[in-house]
Subunit: 346 residues, 2 copies
DNA sequence: ACATTTCTAGAAAACGATTCCCAATTAGAT
DNA sequence: ATCTAATTGGGAATCGTTTTCTAGAAATGT
């Protein structure tokens, strides 16, 4: 049989009120003696409060929800890890779901979260459901958009500077004397990350004296299965390409394979910079130069901001946090290895 | 202001009872007309039931909890994806947490889940908290152990056949004429997966006529930072090694690097089979032969069994499900590529 | 026409906490 | 010794559902 607060009260010979107060740390209202008695009884009966009842009455659950779009991508696994860690530290629990970029599913999930009285939501938004987002802002539902911006929605937003990340990548390629740099990306006009990475590409090209007519961008539709094939075809018809900025870690692997299939050499024939520092980047052949995003921190910061909003109810100032990417230089752009540098110096 | 079932009842001119019945699909008890009226009112007011209240009263939440130990490992991200998918299909929501192999954290999380009246739990058990596990079995708390077995705990268990997986890996190496095969693993005596993979190694060795004195196993302690260094040292002092069975995908990457640092060639000098088919396995140089575990299915099946238990309350027969691993042959064991095979045939 | 059965739908009591408000006891002041 | 103020703890309402029990209406049988 489940033990309730009533059982504790009875056994300790006090009222439910008293027990409740003591559980919630309201010691100043009771004698030392009462507190001790109640605490002992709780331990004795191994009483555990029913979070549902508590939530129902207090309308706070200490649970946050997270809507992700692609669990499979290690980037998101890292983000999730950060969010989980923050929750743990701050005494919250985490519900997650996977929208798979489907706006309908996203909406359904968000509504489910709300029905469960989740205290707030971290969303990697599909960016399509603007009406839904606006409704949430209107009703002051604590919410953080993670990794993506959505125009016109005034809510907390934690992102990585994608323009800068892309700029660094392309700038690095151009400094390594590459003359024909292409940017390869998934096609998705709704999502700010893609837009910004292309913008960074353009900015870097312009900064190096290229004109916009010289921009070269390959956009791949996710649905089209054979990504490697598309890349091979592209490279065949653009034989002058000597540098690739890949905006997505899954695509990067296909690019590397495509280049090998064409029996070209990295970096001698084509240099590559990939987006996202993955577990495997430094183990590829050659090790991959990447733009590292602080994925775990992204998740952690988002959760912290959300929870702070929940606890302080401050909706006056939506926070816009921009984390900084980092260029990890490896051989895929022609970097010499550490030992060689040393030898040369010597 | 929040809309409750009472508001709907009032507006529709019926009682809360009626509304509740209709929400829960009890149409046969009401006239067509009443049903329609209530349904319309629900839509009109955009009424959304409070899951907390519902859960409190009915003591079913339609939420399951999942305790993972390492979100960062892509294997688990895939498992999680499967679990999430099953939840979605079956109308459940998912709470997750990350024990990080810490038994105390595991216990704390499981208790939190229970306080939240989660309907059941999927656990990747640290395997240390036997008392806790037993308590859960005793109180018939729906539970599934995933990926690991724990001796003496009578509960649902979904695993992959690790003995077989390891056997296939080592058998493959030996058939490729490797004479000195070592198994490299993390040291963890509590966890069935490690034990079984070593058992599979031994079985394969025995099957190929080796005696137990010829077994060669390198166990690495997770805490010791420099894994690559340990492997290099090991390979230096065991120069006859010509085949490696790596029981963990993170270690595999270090092994590959170690071998390259030693300027040895894969597979000519040392052949490798790795555990877990990761995104990057086929993109390594050379592409890696692996044992593929049906990770997503593992997660999915676990959730399904759990939810079925919840819905049917059948604790009589704990299910033991063993999924099958698969050998994915690539060049790291000396497999010729498909095209070469074709050329030779020709 | 009246008795009996079947439908339909409502009143009210849970579920297990929190919390407002009030009563009783004690302490302090005069 | 009496009155007021402060402390301590309890009664009961409440959160938003579900569900049992029951009553009235309608339908059926005689």
């Amino acid at each position: 049989m489940k033990i309730t607060i009533g059982d504790v009260a009875q056994k300790a010979g006090v009222s439910k009120t008293t027990v409740s107060r003591i559980i919630n740390g309201n010691y100043n209202n009771n004698t030392e003696e009462t507190v001790q008695k109640v605490l002992d009884t709780i331990k004795e009966l191994d009483y555990r409060p029913n979070a549902l009842a508590k939530g129902l009455k207090s309308s706070r659950t200490n649970v946050i929800g997270m809507v992700l779009s692609n669990l499979k991508n290690p980037f998101w696994a890292n983000v999730l890890e950060g969010t989980e860690e923050a929750c743990q530290e701050l005494g919250f629990n985490l519900m997650i779901c996977n929208s798979g970029e489907d706006p309908e599913l996203e909406e359904q999930y968000i509504k489910e979260f709300q029905m469960r009285q989740v205290d707030g939501i971290v969303i990697n938004p599909t960016a399509i459901n603007t009406k839904l987002y606006n409704d949430l802002v209107m009703e002051e539902y604590p919410m953080v958009f993670i990794n993506r911006k959505v125009d016109g929605i005034e809510t907390h937003n934690v992102v990585v500077d994608n323009i800068k990340g892309a700029f660094m990548a392309v700038d690095h390629l151009l400094k390594k004397n590459r003359k024909n740099v292409v940017s390869i990306a998934y096609k998705n006009k709704y999502v700010s990350t893609w837009r910004e990475r292309l913008e960074g590409y353009r900015a870097a090209m312009l900064a190096h004296g290229y004109s916009s007519s010289e921009f070269n961008i390959l956009e791949i539709e996710r649905e089209k299965g054979n990504i490697k094939g598309i890349i091979i075809d592209f490279l065949k018809s653009n034989p002058s390409i000597d540098g690739i900025f890949s905006t997505n870690n899954m695509i990067t692997l296909e690019i590397v394979d495509a280049i090998k299939d064409l029996e070209l050499k990295i970096p001698e024939d084509i240099a590559i910079v990939g987006y996202d520092e993955t577990i495997w980047a430094k183990h590829l052949d050659p090790p991959l130069t990447t733009i590292k995003q602080p994925a775990k921190e992204l998740g952690k910061v988002s959760a912290k901001i959300l929870i702070e909003t929940i606890q302080n109810n401050n909706f006056d100032k939506p926070q816009k946090i921009i984390l900084q990417p980092e260029l990890i230089i490896r051989k895929s752009c022609g970097a010499t290895s550490a030992s060689v540098v040393w030898a040369v110096k010597k």
